[in-house]
Symmetry: C2
Subunit: 361 residues, 2 copies
Amino acid sequence: MQTLHVELGDRRYPIFIGSDLNPQELLEPYIKGRQVMIVTNTTVAPLYLDRYVRAVEALGKTVETCILPDGEKYKNIEHLTHIFDALLKVGFNRDCTVLALGGGVIGDMAGFASASFQRGVYFVQVPTTLLSQVDSSVGGKTGINHPLGKNMIGAFQQPQVVLADMSQLKTLPPRELSAGLAEVIKYALLGDIEFLAWLEEHMDGLVAGDEKLLAEAVYKSCAHKARIVANDEKEQGERALLNLGHTFGHAIESYLGYGEWLHGEAVATGMVMATDLSHRMGWVSEADLERTKNIISRAQLPIICPKIPLDDFLGFMSHDKKVLNGQLRLVLMKQLGQAIITKEFDVELMKQAILANQDIV
Amino acid sequence: MQTLHVELGDRRYPIFIGSDLNPQELLEPYIKGRQVMIVTNTTVAPLYLDRYVRAVEALGKTVETCILPDGEKYKNIEHLTHIFDALLKVGFNRDCTVLALGGGVIGDMAGFASASFQRGVYFVQVPTTLLSQVDSSVGGKTGINHPLGKNMIGAFQQPQVVLADMSQLKTLPPRELSAGLAEVIKYALLGDIEFLAWLEEHMDGLVAGDEKLLAEAVYKSCAHKARIVANDEKEQGERALLNLGHTFGHAIESYLGYGEWLHGEAVATGMVMATDLSHRMGWVSEADLERTKNIISRAQLPIICPKIPLDDFLGFMSHDKKVLNGQLRLVLMKQLGQAIITKEFDVELMKQAILANQDIV
């Protein structure tokens, strides 16, 4: 087991990364108060809920559960309300802990619920997908979608502790494992060319679910993100680099309707578009664009998206949170492994980069 | 005009208190970003909305408005959603300001919307009721009600600036002016016996709407609250003193249904119950209990509530946020002008204090 500390002053917290972790032992110092609400979904509950209920009960806590339907399309205000209803029906007070057991959707919703229930209670994360282990474990971003945009309503809420158990990835569908690898690849592309080489060497093992390799990839990704977040918790600057591929990706997800494509899949194609635009801007070589497409393909991820009318695509991009003062800012690459945030790009080339990586039908 | 600074480190902000304030001049340094959403209600809009739209437009900002129905019963997730809808329909981004123009309900809802829209945008408060001028201007508590409890969902969100204009109280119904005086009296009872003497001297002028006296009462109350909040922003300790009368009051409001009684009216009777229990505990003399009832009565506030079955009353009290680890904590008075937070009270005497201050019919 490896331990990574996210350094946020008095909100510093550990991420435990390994296989077959002992939840009772690891959670014990971090569960505050008497009451714990475990929020999970209908897919994860039959697999792992009992394990965590027993672990928390063994700590002498009152445990209640809230089981939501599985999927990004339920990440809305209606299902957020179910969590509040569950907390209030059992009379939980402001001294309780909300434990998220599931993927990014559960983490985002349970996290936002914990941030706003009684104006803030304790939060613990047990991410059960690769995507949420690398992405949601660090950074404190929580929230829900709105029909007019993704993650439009939410809060910054840091957990007390994160348990990232690779043995729980055994039950993850291969498509979701790949979606998680998209975010792993992102860290390499945006700032760590050596990590990209490591991924090129080990991609087959990662796709096959090798737990040791996955733990290493999660550790490296979280360490990368933790460094960036510690410098810029509220996304005033550097943190926006983490959005590589996301502005394009959000447009894809928004157009297709949340849940059609996995978030990681949309980000994967979004990263291709960002790299393609960086290439058209003269910053990234054709060979490096191919190298990017290649590692994404090898992770079993899409490098083109379905045909989306350009006006729709651009409309959804302009609803992205990265828009500042009406000006679209994009995360592009000055060279492979070195991302920048910029408003200085050619809009015509951006349109070309979008169209070049769409299905032509 | 008087200026009071609420000292919260890098979230320090000013409250401007006076009559016929100039909004354009006072808001200018504090409105961030290009876009301003003014949230108000159907009662306030015809009176003051134009004035603030013009002031903000004169600053060169894009101004949009969101007009909610008036009343505590609309302080729910459905109407909160209206604010998000309004923000997204006009394409506002994370660099916008939400300006609350109205009483406590508008301040709480607009404040929570600003805390959670895009995980947090800027917030400006223009409280138009006496209650919100003394209570909501300081402390950053925002939120909405849930069918199972008041203010159960929310956030701590500090404004950039607060404008408390006494001339806007001219249009306030007398019943609401009195409700505001309940919170003013609270500051005297919980910690400032000299302020109580000042109120006894000036209560008739306050009830008559004397703007100079009202400005002085708002300044003293806000200064009192600001001192407490600066020491204890997240209500870990001392800040809970501000809940004098509120646990009893919440039970009254919850039983009657939000909106039947004004919040200040429920708090008024709640303060009588808290003082009555303090008297029964042997801490407050009978004369001081009468003095408390007397100043509350002179403010045209109720000192008894309608008949509420005791079990219901106790049930609603136990849903209050002040319950910690299943133990009810109350704000009581060791002597008049000196409140304490305590679990050490006799439950039988508490029941007597509730029953003694209810309508007998």
